[in-house]
Subunit: 201 residues, 2 copies
DNA sequence: AATGAAAGCGGACCGCGGTCCGTTTGACCC
DNA sequence: GGGTCAAACGGACCGCGGTCCGCTTTCATT
């Protein structure tokens, strides 16, 4: 559908326009990856299998997405959109309308659940910098915003990161493996969040 | 030197005694790995190069250490011994003798420095479970202990993990990459630690 | 329609982590 | 010493991530 506008606004999209086959292939690869990950789980999906399912060569997959992490990051991004929408505009207490602290606590529980649900994908998408992923940036920004609304004084971006850190998949998984029940992990995180948010107001 | 005692105390070490060549090879591999990592950095060290340097076959390296992470974990362990000693018995404020809160703050700064210094090695040793490594377990236990001495009430083991989490290599590296200076990261962590420790007493 | 150039393509190729299995070595007993 | 057996060895082998380069497709221009 954007094609229909092209002739009418030829000035806006010209600089780096990409060839049509490139766009088509990129889309095919992403769809194939999405499908394969859903069906077989991220760890079982190889770059070659994605290429084959998309009907392209292996080189094409790497050209479009850089490496395995890049591809998985894109898949993860698709899977996170719905959740992000419900944080921004969904029901309270996760969405807007509740007290900031209540939203923060709901956020923690919800994010922890999601981290576990997408665990394999997150780990597959995680390079040395799991935190440069859009999903992480979104979460960090949101926590920072809520802390601000709670009236917390201090280094908000770094405090936000510090609050997010213990929710990380690898940490939570390890805690579960050590026998801590999920409820207790959530409770401990809530405790932490309250301590951080308590300093002000 | 333990050899000298063997004949005198034949009862203590018999159950799973390992063959002499096995022990010798394990040692040679570890030495070679230590040396190579120091000289070329962890990322550049391949399992095959370690095997060759140790004068053994590749299979032997894998048999002794399981996989690359296992080997790197062992190398890391060696590198952390000195620091652990200085935490347990070194000078205050890191070592014993200072106030618990002061020790905690000193611990954070010191651990952060060490994480950066050993960054490559830590990442190489990190499997899905970076936190099952002895070095991590040691740190967690120590923080838990200090929190207890601070009079903190709550879920100490999980709070300790939560405090440790933001010191993780990948997080700190990302923050540096985003332009936050190291001092500020340390300050933010100290702030966090104080908020956690402030609830009691 | 013809043409030139560059963006894109794909599969042969490489290196490394990890496995497998036939062979060797060391420990223990006679 | 000789015999036996399990533990250990080592290198050929495999699969996957990632690169490279000669060939093809697209698109702007005329």
């Amino acid at each position: 559908m954007p094609d229909a506008e092209r002739p009418l606004l030829p000035l806006l999209d010209d600089p780096p326009r990409q060839r049509r086959d490139a766009a088509r292939n990129r889309d095919a690869v992403l769809q194939a990856a999405l499908c394969l990950v859903a069906r077989e789980g991220a760890p079982a999906v190889t770059m070659e299998s994605v290429a084959e399912a998309a009907g392209v060569g292996k080189g094409t997959v790497f050209r479009r997405f850089g490496n395995r992490q890049g591809l998985m990051a894109e898949v993860l991004h698709q899977s996170e959109l719905e959740w992000q929408a419900s944080v921004i505009g969904g029901e309270p207490p996760l969405g807007p309308g509740a007290e900031p602290l209540a939203r923060l606590l709901a956020f923690g529980r919800s994010r922890l659940e999601l981290n576990l649900r997408h665990a394999d994908l997150i780990e597959a998408a995680a390079g040395g910098d799991r935190r440069s992923h859009p999903a992480w940036a979104f979460a960090a920004l949101h926590v920072r915003h809520l802390l601000g609304e709670c009236g917390v004084a201090g280094d908000l971006p770094l405090l936000a990161t510090a609050l997010l850190a213990p929710l990380d998949v690898t940490i939570v998984r390890q805690q579960l493996r050590e026998g801590y029940p999920a409820d207790r992990i959530v409770a401990a995180w809530s405790d932490l969040a309250r301590r951080v948010a308590a300093a002000a107001d």
